[in-house]
């Protein structure tokens, strides 16, 4: 019987294992040093906020794994000995494989800031990071002030987490608008306001110069590059994005660039070694404008679904569909379907239409191709939309006008919610006719 070994028990590795089990009788082992069981990384914030217990983040009961004959091994892998088809574990143990899948995920970025390794400075990615955070910032008497550096999704989540325990937060964002590397400025302004409304000290357009230490080697304050201002704090969260966790691959002679280099079948340069999820970097051009590295929950899941086919004999290339994603910024939910570019990355052919509710807590941006007026994508804030409908519209290459006119078909807000569709339609159609004329 073939032995499949998967390194990493995140969504990618676990989905691969589940689907290989569905499709075959292979011997499957998942190795992780992080946790006993698969948990939802995206839910770590809710554990700190007291919405859930850690065990609630585990999507499957412990009995699931034995019932489905998926072996779990808690260990760190030191090296891959590809010549012998073996893994060397940190505890000295050797584990042989017929096919190896690397699903090692990401790690928080650090940019060589002075003081970035002090006690009280950390990122937020692993379960261990959460445990550390519980020690450093359990409440506002031990942690009187916190600074979060880096304005992405994890940054705003960390700010919300600390805020839930009444710890004052200063949020340093390099960009002049929150998340404007991803969102159009129109959308950013909704989030800027909302983050501030929650009492977060949001500082836009500032860079971290240095993290100062006290005599015990603990963080004491941060210094802002532009103003020289010193902000005293007991905790610094570094949340300037993540990058692929590739150290194991690098140690083992696997080709890497930013991530572990793979083709559309997730094959690395070494036979029978594959890489999926956050850690993988595609060398082939993916369809639908998908990026070569995607550190997104569902991309990991889709890669797991796909590689299971290849491993079980139905060689299948990875062909992700239209881009979509979602997030929640404090109380404002965000969904996106298709591509809506930020100001910085907007191609010449893309035009955008905006609508915003008067209280600035809801909004939409739709993008379209100015040459043929096809719909390109939508961002929504505070309004839920139906994935299936937008996926179909993107497939059908609907025109922007058709999409606006049929917007009510895509509504996904709960029953009895006020519909903003009429208002959105009249504003967007008016703007559209102005810009087309």
């Amino acid at each position: 019987m073939k032995k499949i070994v998967i390194v990493g028990n995140g969504i990618s590795g676990v989905t691969a294992a589940r689907h290989i089990r569905k499709l075959s009788d292979y011997h499957i082992t998942i190795i992780s040093g992080e946790s006993d069981y698969f948990f939802s990384r995206t839910a770590l914030m809710y554990v700190y906020m007291g919405h859930m217990k850690f065990d609630d983040t585990q999507p499957y009961e412990p009995s699931f794994w034995s019932k489905n004959r998926i072996n779990l091994k808690k260990a760190w892998v030191k090296k891959i000995v590809s010549e012998d088809k073996q893994l060397l574990l940190e505890n000295g143990e050797l584990l042989s494989y017929d096919k190896l899948i690397l699903a090692t995920g990401s790690k928080p970025n650090k940019f060589g800031w002075p003081g970035e390794n002090l006690e009280g400075v950390q990122g937020l990615y692993t379960k261990q990071d959460l445990e550390l955070l519980e020690k450093t910032a359990p409440n506002n008497s031990i942690c009187k002030h916190a600074v979060v550096v880096g304005g992405g999704l994890i940054g705003v989540e960390l700010a919300e987490m600390l805020h839930s325990r009444h710890i004052p937060v200063t949020f340093l964002v390099r960009e002049t608008n929150f998340w404007n590397g991803v969102l159009p400025d129109h959308d950013c302004s909704i989030l800027n306001d909302h983050i501030k409304a929650h009492g977060i000290d949001l500082r836009l357009g500032v860079n971290l110069k240095e993290i100062h230490s006290d005599r015990m080697g603990r963080v004491e304050s941060v210094e802002i590059a532009e103003t020289g201002e010193i902000i005293p704090c007991n905790f610094v969260g570094l949340t300037a994005g993540v990058s692929p966790q590739i150290s194991l691959a690098q140690n083992s002679g696997i080709e890497t660039h930013r991530g572990i280099l793979v083709n559309q079948f997730f094959e690395t340069n070494l036979t029978d070694i594959y890489a999926i999820g956050d850690c993988a970097e595609q060398t082939d051009q993916l369809p639908n404008g998908r990026r070569s590295i995607e550190a997104v929950w569902y991309s990991g899941r889709m890669m797991g679904e796909t590689i299971a086919q290849t491993i079980t004999g139905n060689k299948t290339p990875y062909k992700p569909g239209h881009w979509f994603n979602s997030a929640k910024f404090f109380d404002i939910e965000y969904q996106t379907y298709g591509w809506v570019s930020s100001l910085r990355s907007k191609p010449e052919h893309e035009l955008q239409l905006h609508w915003k509710y008067h209280d600035n807590t809801k909004g939409v941006t739709l993008s379209y191709n100015k040459n043929d007026l096809t719909f390109l994508g939508i961002n929504t804030f505070g309004i839920r939309m139906r994935h299936e409908v937008f996926n179909q519209w993107l497939n059908e290459k609907k025109s922007i006008e058709q999409v606006i006119e049929q917007l009510d078909k895509a509504q996904f807000d709960p029953e009895f919610y006020k519909s903003y569709v009429n208002e959105i339609q009249s504003v967007l159609l008016a703007t559209l006719s102005n810009s087309v004329l």
Binding site: G50, H51, D55, E333, H387, E388
Partner: protein, 532 residues
């Protein structure tokens, strides 16, 4: 392992979740009101009964309302679950256990030792807590208070003030607001006011039994008891109309509404048990057991209760019907044939049209059906007047009332809110929920739709499902939720951070949609896997 560590963390950070000064003041007011009520049980009454009661209820009400305002009104509208898992009250800590024990104690006294609350028996006047309610009861229905009047009043009061709390907590969510207003309305109007006023109309020549119109058999398991049916009939047209309404409720109204909207129209919009669970019980909803084994137990227990309720009622009605049609149009054998025929009809329909959806449960359904039919035949063959085999029907009725009506629905169902969560009764014990659930699972247009591939398996939905449904296990597969136990409270949809869940009534096509590969991946792969 880890959960241990997090538990110990919870001890350190307690002060981050301390009460603010407004909440402390409100809490004092509420506790004072409660104290005033408790004191009367020990014979302490400060002023006249009506003033004492108004003072106690007023302090309680003001306390709860101001506590709520201090907790929520200065915050931006949104999900308010911070610290739920750290609070002693809401995570089975000391406070939770204390409250659980006190509530359970209250229910035991209420059901089995009402004299401790001051109920006057054998013509004695009331004393203590119950006497406190005498003036109010006299004013409302013309009689002295009973323990049930006290309980009904406090119950209604609790749903209204905690309903206010729930509305403020979910003030961004119209679905939550509307259904809470609805349960407050039905509790106050239908369960409390109308029956009290109806009993005021009673005289020597005209007497209707106490009837909460929204309480439907088999939840209202005593509705077809002999004394009730007699008094309905004796009350002429009005009584007969009520009796017909009672039968129509379960056989006509219920299936139609459940078909259109799912069982939520009743369980989380109308029902009083559900109303209490959704308002008073809301802080405890996360304590429901989500394990697969709990689900297995649930299905056995609740369906056993419904079989028990059906047999008990059949035996009771059978016992007072006559043998021939001359005295009354319905006789013993026609009644049994009717019950058997109806069950066979329903069972046949399900087996013919829905056997596939029924899956493994079909065998359990068949066993239940078989037991009932054999019992009915037994009744007919042995034909003993008030005997169901070796059990007297009156005893059966008493046992049901004690075990299910009192112990299960009251002592365990509500007393254990802080331990097992707020819907223990609804999930494991309510025969009405079982009947509605059966309709919902097999015939309803209702489902919770999952939004393509957006689920991130975070588990908020499962954590806050009061019915212990592992919502995430469906959402992460992109599969709609059509579980019979779902009461449609909509909280899974509310707490979802990614906009994945939506309660909907829609066509049957695509209602049940098991998927292996979710929307967003390679279209060919989705087809290949999902059609297996």
């Amino acid at each position: 392992m880890s959960s241990q560590q997090f538990k110990s963390f919870a001890l350190i950070n307690s002060d981050s979740y301390g009460l603010n000064s407004g909440q402390k003041l409100a809490l004092s007011s509420g506790l004072l009101g409660l104290l005033l009520l408790v004191l009367t049980a020990f014979g302490v009454q400060l002023v006249s009964a009506s003033i004492h009661l108004s003072l106690a209820i007023g302090l309680l009400g003001v306390g709860i309302v101001y506590f709520t305002r201090a907790a929520y009104s200065n915050k931006i509208a949104g999900i308010k679950n911070d610290g739920v898992m750290f609070s002693s009250l809401t995570s089975r800590g000391i406070l939770g256990w204390l409250l659980g024990v006190s509530l359970t104690g209250f229910y035991i006294v209420l059901y089995f030792y009402p004299t401790w609350l001051g109920l006057g028996i054998n013509g004695d006047p009331n004393s203590g807590l119950i006497a406190l309610f005498d003036p109010f009861s006299l004013w409302l229905n013309g009689n002295a208070a009973t323990q049930w009047f006290v309980y009904g009043t406090l119950y209604t009061f609790a749903i209204i003030v905690f309903g206010y709390k729930f509305i403020l907590k979910y003030r961004h969510n119209p679905y939550q607001k509307l259904r809470t207003i609805s349960v407050m309305f039905f509790q106050f109007g239908f369960a409390f006011l109308i029956p009290e006023l109806m009993s005021r109309l009673n005289s020597d020549t005209f007497k209707l039994p106490y009837y909460d119109l929204k309480s439907i058999w088999p939840l209202n398991y005593y509705n077809f008891d002999k004394y009730r049916v007699n008094s309905f009939i004796d009350a002429g047209d009005v009584g007969l109309a009520l009796l017909i309404f009672g039968v129509a409720s379960i056989f006509v109204i219920t299936p139609i509404l459940t078909y259109k909207y799912g069982k939520r129209w009743y369980c989380s919009w109308v029902c009083g048990c559900g109303g209490l669970a959704e308002t008073v019980g809301d802080p405890f909803r996360q304590l429901s057991d989500k394990s697969i084994s709990a689900w297995k137990i649930e299905r056995w227990v609740i369906h056993s209760v419904v079989v028990f309720a059906l047999l008990m009622t059949t035996a009771v009605v059978y016992s007072y019907l006559g043998h021939d049609r001359s005295s009354y149009w319905l006789n013993k054998s026609d009644f049994l044939l009717g019950v058997g025929g109806l069950l066979t009809f329903v069972f046949g329909l399900v087996m013919i049209f829905k056997r596939k959806e029924f899956g493994k449960d079909a065998i359990y359904g068949a066993v239940g059906y078989f037991v009932i039919i054999v019992t009915l035949i037994g009744l007919f063959v042995f034909d003993q007047n008030d005997q169901l085999f070796i059990f007297k029907s009156t005893e059966l009725r008493k046992t049901y009332g004690f075990l299910i009506g009192s112990v299960f629905s009251g002592v365990i169902g509500t007393g254990f809110y802080p331990i097992f969560g707020s819907r223990v009764w609804c999930r494991f014990g309510c025969p009405m929920a079982a009947v509605l659930g059966f309709q919902q699972r097999l015939f309803s247009r209702f489902r919770i739709t999952t939004n393509g591939g957006q689920c991130i398996s975070c588990g908020n939905c499962s954590s806050y499902c009061e019915m212990g449904i592992d919502v995430r296990s469906y959402a992460q597969k992109g599969e709609n939720i059509v579980r019979s136990s779902c009461v449609g409270c909509g909280v899974c949809s509310a707490v979802c951070p990614r906009g994945v869940l939506k309660l909907e009534n829609d066509h049957h096509k695509g209602r049940i949609n098991p998927t292996q590969v979710l929307l967003g991946n390679d279209v060919d792969l989705m087809d290949l896997m999902n059609q297996r």
